[in-house]
């Protein structure tokens, strides 16, 4: 017999599967969230907050709830709604100690299942409890525990409180939790059940009438007489009175002292208020409550967002966060990122995009993220799309991001292609990983522009007319010395005049491509110093974001667009369509 009693498998409660049916804008959703922090990304009005609201409603620490027909999908309240979860729960939440016993299901990869008596495993068991909240057709909420024998029992408030949910909403209502409203975090923290009624008595005793000026007392006296005449209730006075929808106790709120003056917490800035509300909520007795933070960035500077995200990551709690902040996404390094698309589908961003998350967190917040394989492509694509749109890309939610390298860009594109996040790609054809590129192309279609062969330089330079060479070589400030020098070096010429270079070269365009691409010497035994120097040649040309933009300007300035339009126009139009714009025939 083992000395130690069997330890509960999970310290912190967590949702292993969540399903939402007909709740607000979500018709049906099935989601297996992660045990730690879940960051929900996605555009506006896609249902991120609805998912958080659903979790908060399921675990709500009170029974008080007012439903409206807007809580039902397509306002069809007659169909009801259901929010259900399979949860790993520590047994100290009291779920098995209720009047009626509750029984666990067993977890399997595709959801809760009945224990298999024949499975001869002795495997560590992974028990889960199935709970749900239903909105009935007559606007009532029913919290229920679903038992393995199909029966359904009440899911009591006490158990929900012990599981605990700490909620920080995205709206400005979080000031509610800093007030003594019934069921508010402050109310639960204090846990003084009779305080409210005691205070109500005290408040009721306040002598308002005695404070009135004489003229006011006279006016009240006159009114009293008129009431009396009409046999209305008389002997009028003034006192503090509550009323439906608000209570005098709601006037009681948390205060703090600043510069010797007592001020309501509600008068601090939004960020401080939010952090304060979070602390109040987290201080109540559930050990590791499920944390829900809508729009984590709200009211917080980047550094405070970062601290908050890091603290949430470090806690053993399961955390649900929505954000539109690059700082928050960047800080959420070990969190699981999820993308909620406009169809309400939720997709996991794979771990393979972690490098991109660090490099450029904005990628995950854009309406359309264009992964360009390097700096040149970033500059070129930005210029190209700006030309097509006629205004700043960011106004359309398009974000062009540096994928880091050809293979890195492929990794990121593959990771994002099935996540639901709209992603486009712009890459060279280095002749490597052809199969994977083809797979990605199949998924993304025209949103992926990969040259049939080579790169920007190899696809543009060959189209230059002889008379255009000089203008093409010239940098935007008119100087062309450094670029000519790279050409002359490759021919071992002292003279770096264009004429001399053309004379010494049998293919000036190939030479330009080699220099612009930083191609190494043909002779593998060339001195190391030469190899290094030649590699750097590319930077003199277009190997930078500015260089990429310059290349695009020259493409259009020199009238070369028609040569590459068959390759680039479908891409431009695919991006345009992704942000809801019509396709175009020309780009200027």
């Amino acid at each position: 017999m083992p000395e130690d009693p069997h330890q509960p498998a999970h310290v912190a409660p967590y949702i292993r599967h969540l399903s939402i049916n007909r709740f607000r804008g979500i018709e049906a959703l099935s989601w297996f969230p992660d045990k730690g922090m879940n960051v929900l990304l996605g555009g506006g009005d896609v249902g991120k907050s609805t998912i958080l609201d659903a979790i908060a409603m399921l675990l709500s620490p009170t029974n008080a709830a007012t439903l409206s027909d807007a809580d039902y999908w397509q306002r069809r309240h007659e169909d009801g709604f259901e929010i259900a979860a399979a949860m790993a729960l520590p047994l100290n939440c009291g779920i098995v100690e209720q009047r009626k016993a509750s029984w666990p299901w067993e977890w399997s990869a595709d959801g809760p299942k009945l224990p298999d008596l024949e499975a001869n495993d002795g495997q560590p068991l992974d028990p889960v409890f199935c709970v749900r909240v239903c909105g009935t057709p007559d606007f009532e909420l029913q919290h229920e525990i679903c038992q393995p024998d199909d029966s359904v029992d009440h899911f009591p408030v006490s158990v929900r409180r012990n599981i605990g949910v700490v909620r920080l909403g995205g709206d400005d209502r979080n000031d509610r939790d800093l007030r003594l409203i019934q069921g508010s975090a402050l109310d639960r923290l204090l846990g003084d059940k009779t305080l409210r009624s005691r205070l109500a008595d005290k408040i009721g005793e306040t002598d308002v009438h005695g404070q009135l000026k004489e003229s006011a007392k006279t006016a009240l006296g006159d009114l009293d007489e008129r009431f009396h005449k009409r046999t209305l209730p008389s002997q009028l006075s003034l006192g503090l009175v509550g009323g439906p929808g608000f209570s005098l106790n709601a006037l009681i709120g948390l205060t703090a002292t600043k510069d010797g003056t007592m001020l309501p917490m509600a008068s601090w800035g939004a960020g401080t208020r939010r952090l304060a509300a979070l602390e109040v909520a987290a201080a109540h007795h559930a050990e590791h409550p499920i944390m829900i933070v809508d729009e984590i960035e709200r009211g917080l500077e980047s550094y405070r967002q970062r601290i908050l995200v890091e603290e949430l990551l470090a806690s053993p709690s399961q955390v649900f966060v929505t954000t539109h902040s690059a700082a928050a996404v960047h800080a959420a390094a070990t969190a699981t990122l999820w993308y909620v698309d406009a169809g309400g589908k939720i997709g996991r961003l794979p771990a393979s995009v972690a490098a991109q998350q660090k490099r450029d967190p904005e990628t995950f917040l854009a309406r359309v993220a264009v992964i360009a394989e390097g700096a040149t492509e970033v500059g070129f694509v930005t210029n190209l799309l700006t030309r097509s749109l006629g205004e700043d890309l960011r106004r359309h939610g398009i974000w062009v991001s540096d994928g880091g390298s050809n293979s890195e860009a492929l990794t990121v594109l593959r990771g994002l292609a099935t996540s639901g996040l709209k992603v486009a790609g712009f890459a060279d054809n280095e002749g490597t990983q052809q199969g994977l590129w083809q797979q990605t192309k199949d998924q993304l279609g025209d949103l992926l522009m990969r040259w049939a062969d080579g790169c920007l330089e190899t696809n543009i330079i060959p189209h230059l007319q002889d008379h255009q060479l000089e203008a093409f070589i010239a940098e935007p400030d008119g100087d062309s010395g450094e670029r000519l020098r790279t050409l002359a070096d490759r021919l071992n010429l002292e003279d770096k005049s264009l004429a001399a270079i053309i004379a010494a070269s049998d293919d000036i365009r190939a030479l330009m491509i080699a220099a612009a691409c930083g191609t190494a010497p043909a002779d593998p035994n060339a001195p190391e110093a030469q190899k290094k120097a030649w590699k750097k040649h590319g930077q003199r040309w277009f190997k930078s974001a500015a260089g990429g933009a310059e290349l695009a300007d020259k493409l259009f300035g020199l009238g070369l667009w028609p040569h590459v339009a068959p390759q680039l126009l479908p891409f431009v139009n695919a991006v345009r369509r992704a942000v809801g714009l019509e396709a175009v025939q020309v780009v200027v």
Binding site: M1, P5, H6, V96, E97, P104, D149
Partner: protein
Amino acid sequence: MSDETVAEALRSAARLVVVEAPGGCGKTYQGASYACDIATALGDGRLLILTHTNAACDVFAGRTRGLSRRVEIRTIDGLIIEIAGAYRHPLALPEDIGAWARRRPKGYDLLGEMVARLLTRHPGIADCVARRYPIVVCDEHQDASADQHAIVMALHRSGAQLRVFADPMQMIFTGTQAQTAAAEQRWAELKTAADRFEELDQPHRWANIQPELGAWILTARATLRDGGKIDLTGNLPAGLTVHFAENSSPQRTGFRVAAQESQAIYARANAPSLLVLTGQNDRVTALRAFFNRRLPIWEGHVREGLSTLAAHCMAHQGNAEALARGTLTFIGSVASGFSPSAFGNRFVLEAQQGCVKPCNGKPQHLQAMARHIVECPDHRGVARALDYLRGLAANEAAFAEVRVHHGREFAEAIQLGQFENADDGFAEIARRRTHARPQLPMKAISTIHKAKGLEFENVMVLPCDADNFSNTKASRARLYVALSRATRSLMLIVSKEKPSPLFNL
């Protein structure tokens, strides 16, 4: 004094406390007062008292009044049914598990096996039960089957504290030898595993009535347990009478003694209260005759004949012949004199042939009886047939030899006819019986087995001979159970010619 150390052990932090508790030594008092003391300190959990009979549940409930929110008292079969019910889908059980278990032979044993396997293989479920019941008190644990024991131990592994009361000397030896050996092995292992092992040794039951007898019974218990012989030669305690008489009945299970030997026995039977105990069912019937039908038979709380009959009726609805056969079997188990040759075969034949042949006399009555079943071929027809037989036995000379020994069970079978469904009816009758708690008669004849848990002022055990009490573990336990039923006087009818090896004469 063991009482204090037992009380202290129960209240200690020890996770497994085993108390060897001979009958009459205050086990229920200890268990109930412990439950009362500890219940308020349990937080959200409950103390669970697991018994084997509803009667024991009632006793504990009476002594833990007002604590029903903190103390749950149930039979271990009740707990098994609850767990099996929660997982009836993977266990492939129907919604009404109680009916399922009643309907098949050893149904409760099957359930116990399933639940033991469930809890052992899925400790997460046991964790939940153990969390709900952080303390489990097991009453009369010697009666637990291997699976019931496994269930309790699964709860223990999941963190529940166990308080086990058992009297291994009261083990019911009904299984095979291997099962008996396994039960003893379990007890030995349980003692070894216990963090605390204590023994109750104060004969409280006799303290104010017949203390010498109480002390003698406890000594006899130790002697029987340790393989010795009870000495009947020396000074006998007040309250104990040894009467020598030889059973001269030619039948194996009969009972007859010579006139001069019987006087003392009949004299004792004239006392206002008496429980006559013997080994086998058949001997009970014989003793009823021996005492001139003046002592009723104690039928106990179990109705094996009736449960078989109810199941049989469910299984053979519409088949008059099969129903008649089941009826015949039932009559055989509760009455004598309705022999197959003289009555039964004709009765079944009538049912088979549809009661069409004109006949007179006794066959006519049997035909009338069978007609009830032919006209209503289910438990209701069977009930009417039995009711008809009751009338025949009372009024017809030809049926005068039909004697019902288990009157209650017979009456309940007739009662069954009032229900739509035999299963539901049986369950309801059993429920009423449990709650109505049949009053013990002042006098009764009973098998030792059915007398477990009963107390009578005066007890007579007979015949104490080699046939009834041989030198086996089972016999030793049976003899101890018989001896310990008496609170004031105990009379042993002892054979000298075929002496039992358990006595020193």
